[in-house]
């Protein structure tokens, strides 16, 4: 199939009310949902609001719900969806600002709470030293470093939907990424956050975060690994102080 007409059914929000808009898109081979949204904006309704930046699955800006599942609009080809009707909605578990644009501030605040950077006891910026790492050490966290913070995992997490204070899968995966990094020396500080009331113990292992991650990061795996580390950390703290 080289070309077909597809109806885009887009969930809209104008700040006061929610409604649906339908647009007919001439979808060609290779055309992505993001290109379809740009087509709507350029030809039908310039008020349609959505986020996009890199258009190549790197920035994570264009994550939206496509036919009920969170995906990157720039990486989802219209004809691959095998449907002449495509339902486009904003991500769940986020406050909608306008149309497909959601509020990400809280998500990034949660991410920053796990200190997503290398913590070193002594940093000498005047004479920087190369931190040597073996491939085996790199492989322990590499997969988790691929997270693009698109929010897809957070939008399907049932724990995040019922608890506003839960840090969420992306933040947890990021915490594990740095805890597993041999160069990092912030284990204790980070574990205090991870073991806290809004940390790993709020996860109920629905595993949906790993299922929807467009980069194959497997946040659920990171959380379970973190949970085991967390249990050991808490026991050690309890008995050894």
């Amino acid at each position: 199939m080289e070309e077909m007409e597809v109806i885009f059914r887009i969930k809209r929000f104008d700040g006061e009310r929610e409604y649906w808009s339908n647009f007919v898109i001439p979808a060609k081979k290779g055309m992505t949902v993001l290109e379809g949204l740009f087509y709507v904006k350029e030809n039908y309704d310039s008020s349609l609001a959505f986020r996009a930046s890199c258009r190549m699955g790197i920035c994570g800006s264009c994550a939206i719900k496509i036919n009920g599942k969170p995906k990157l609009a720039c990486e989802t080809q219209i004809l691959h969806l095998n449907s002449n009707k495509i339902k486009v909605e904003p991500l769940d578990n986020f406050k909608v600002i306008k149309d497909l644009i959601t509020e990400f501030e809280g998500f990034f605040v949660k991410h920053s709470r796990v200190k997503p950077y290398l913590i070193r006891k002594e940093d000498n910026y005047a004479e920087p030293v190369e931190l040597i790492q073996k491939p085996s050490q790199l492989s322990k966290y590499y997969d988790y470093s691929l997270c693009i913070k698109c929010g897809a995992c957070y939008s399907v997490c049932p724990a995040s939907s019922s608890r506003d204070d839960y840090l969420g899968p992306a933040a947890m995966a990021s915490a594990y990424r740095f805890i597993a990094d041999s160069r990092d020396e912030g284990y204790k500080e980070r574990m205090e956050i991870v073991c806290g009331d809004c940390g790993v113990w709020r996860c109920h292992f629905a595993g949906e975060c790993s299922e929807v991650c467009p980069k194959g990061v497997e946040p659920a795996k990171a959380i379970q690994k973190l949970r085991f580390k967390s249990a050991l950390y808490m026991l050690r703290k309890l008995f050894m102080g």
């Binding site: 036919n67 049932p158 724990a159 629905a206 595993g207 949906e208 379970q224 690994k225 949970r227 085991f228």
Partner: protein
Amino acid sequence: MWLKWFDFRKKSLFHISYSLHRLTGVVLAVYLVMHLSYLTSLRLGRGVYEYFISTTLTPAFLGFDILLVLAGVYHGVNGIRLILHEFGIAYELRRPILYLCYVVVLVVWLYASYVLYSYVMGV
């Protein structure tokens, strides 16, 4: 919002398993309260207790019992799967393990239902 965890439209089998696990947990908690209430009726005399129990050992109650067994078996088997993964064990095998869980639940439930049916109906 508080029921969003139960929304498994367009979700994977993992999410459905999670929702069912929580639902069966609620069912078992309600059953536990009923069970303890029945046991507490012993304080009112043996006759009262036996009257309560006799109402549950009827063909009309059999359907509820069979569903209760399903809830119990599912919650138990899926719980073992969750404990396994939550210790970081066999995460990579989570899909075949999930399918295996459903097979085990089905087999155990069918056998338990058969035993229950034979006992209640006197077959």
